[in-house]
């Protein structure tokens, strides 16, 4: 486990800092960098962000705990965020959630026993016109049905 930023991340953080008049405003992008670097926002990650921005750790933690896309637990190797909001729901998104639960043994908020997938329920990801939709890591997949979702997930090991 690393407990400080590597050179690549530091360069990125220095660039981020130039975009804002205050260090505090750089917290959100810095948290993304830390999440990428550490895997999730473990206490060391929050401390590293606080050090880098010269802020109290509490200030960083207060921001980090407000937003749902920051992870405070170890995640699976791939993070699935499936939308079950209304436009996707009426096209069958809840069935798909069930498929994932059955096939990979992963419930919303959890990680599959083999550590391959985390499952999160998303609330509209701006793909309502081609739902049901999900994000796997950074990739958007749309027009899902029970068959397609399994095919798509085969590509994430």
């Amino acid at each position: 486990m690393k407990n400080s930023f590597g050179p690549g991340a530091l360069a990125l953080l220095n660039e981020i800092k130039t975009k804002y008049p205050t260090g505090r405003a750089a917290i959100m992008p810095a948290l993304y960098v830390a999440q990428e670097e550490f895997g999730w926002l473990m206490p060391e990650a929050l401390e590293a962000v606080a050090d880098c921005l010269e802020l109290p750790e509490m200030t960083v933690r207060s921001t980090a705990t407000f937003y749902s896309m920051y992870r405070h637990r170890k995640a699976g190797r791939n993070v699935i965020r499936i939308c079950t909001n209304v436009s996707c729901m009426v096209l069958g998104a809840r069935t798909l959630k069930g498929v994932l639960e059955g096939l990979y043994g992963v419930a919303p908020g959890g990680v599959s026993p083999d550590g391959r997938f985390s499952l999160e329920i998303a609330d509209c990801i701006g793909a309502c016109g081609s739902g049901p939709a999900m994000l796997v890591n950074d990739d958007l997949h749309t027009g899902l049905d029970a068959k397609k979702i399994i095919e798509v997930l085969e590509n994430y090991k």
Binding site: K19, Y20, P21, T22, R24, A25, A26, I27, M28, P29, L31, Y32, S62, T63, F66, Y67, S68, M69, Y70, R81, T84, N85, V86, S87, M89, V90, L91, R94, T95, K97, G98, E101, A122, D123, C124, I125, G126, A127, C128, G129, S130, G131, L135, D138, L140
Partner: protein
Amino acid sequence: MTRYLLDVVENRSIGEYERAGGYQGLGKALSMEPGQVIEEVKKSGLRGRGGAGFPTGMKWMFAAGDPKSPKYIACNADEGEPGTFKDKAILDENPHLLIEGMAIAGHALKAELGYIYLRGEYLKEKDILETAISQARASGYLGENIMGSGKRFDVHVHLGAGAYICGEETALIDSLEGKRGQPRLKPPFPVNSGLWGSPTIVNNVETLANLPFIVREGAGRYVRIGDPGCPGNKLFPVSGHVERPGVYELPMGTTLREIIYEHAGGIKNGKTLKAVIPGGISAPVLPPGLIDCPMDFVSVQKQGSMLGSGGVMVFDEDTCIVRVAHRALEFFERESCGKCTPCREGTGWLRGILERIETRQGREGDIRLLEDVSKNITGNTFCPLGDGAAAAVLGFLMHFREEFAEHIKNGCPFGPDDLNPYHYNPVQP
């Protein structure tokens, strides 16, 4: 009809955009005094496309009139309203339109810096925007001495992290400052005290994307498009049970019927229309009898709903309205920021009551109770999130009361939503 938001350029390249007249609006704006640009925007009658429909020129005038500086331009690209994916269409197809719009706003407000608050899920759009911003810098439309005018203006992208409330303008400002995204008490309004206490304009992506056309072609031409009271084109993202879901650019005031039946191809699989939400999940539902309503801020409000984001969500005859209402409230409960009690507690109550109605545990007075809780939320919350939740519930009850009563009496008559853990199949032989 004239289209100026979507389908303007073949690809996203800056060259294509310039050939289609891109950045001429900025050039023209820079040759005008900032006050003249604001005057032109006021004359255009442009109203904000983020949901509230506030007159853009007036907002700008307030910010320009504040003696404090620096001033900031904040573009609201949080697009969190379920059923809404129109700003994404602009970013995907035509990102320079937004950048040009922001630069025009920058000149009008004498601001030198703008931020695009982009929702966390729009990672592809983040790349598109950052590429477009670099292109614009390289071509002299952003950065120092833009278009040789001696003015400077630059734009940064700020990625949100999954909080619907950050679409609310004061929460957006707190979030951009690196804080928890909770709404601030107004006044002071952002036009006087926004980012870091400075006068700040918060405008939606689509609002800003209207500016290049307004400035280039003139307010006189713009006011002839759409509805005289509310000019211009509007983007309508259509989802749910239609043959051709997608984003349609149409004159403001196009009827819901035309949008659903002509543009989106009618109801999927030859079924009939049961209900439509006209402006994203916070907008009260409308029954089929009201779809001749023109889609503009005033007309939709007259029907007891709102234009909101323009996100049209269409439901066919087989849709369970209680289930839709329940899912909507699950969303509001989760996204309530927790700052004020009526919203934090009220949304949970509404979701809970809807849940028991859907799972055949509904009680006699539940419809009354839903109304009572909704009315106690309305007008008593810090920001309009709670009002939206309450209005949505009251809308469902107003037009589909019978269906709720039927659920309470006999359970949900629609097929099981198989893996919906809340669902209880009432058909027991």
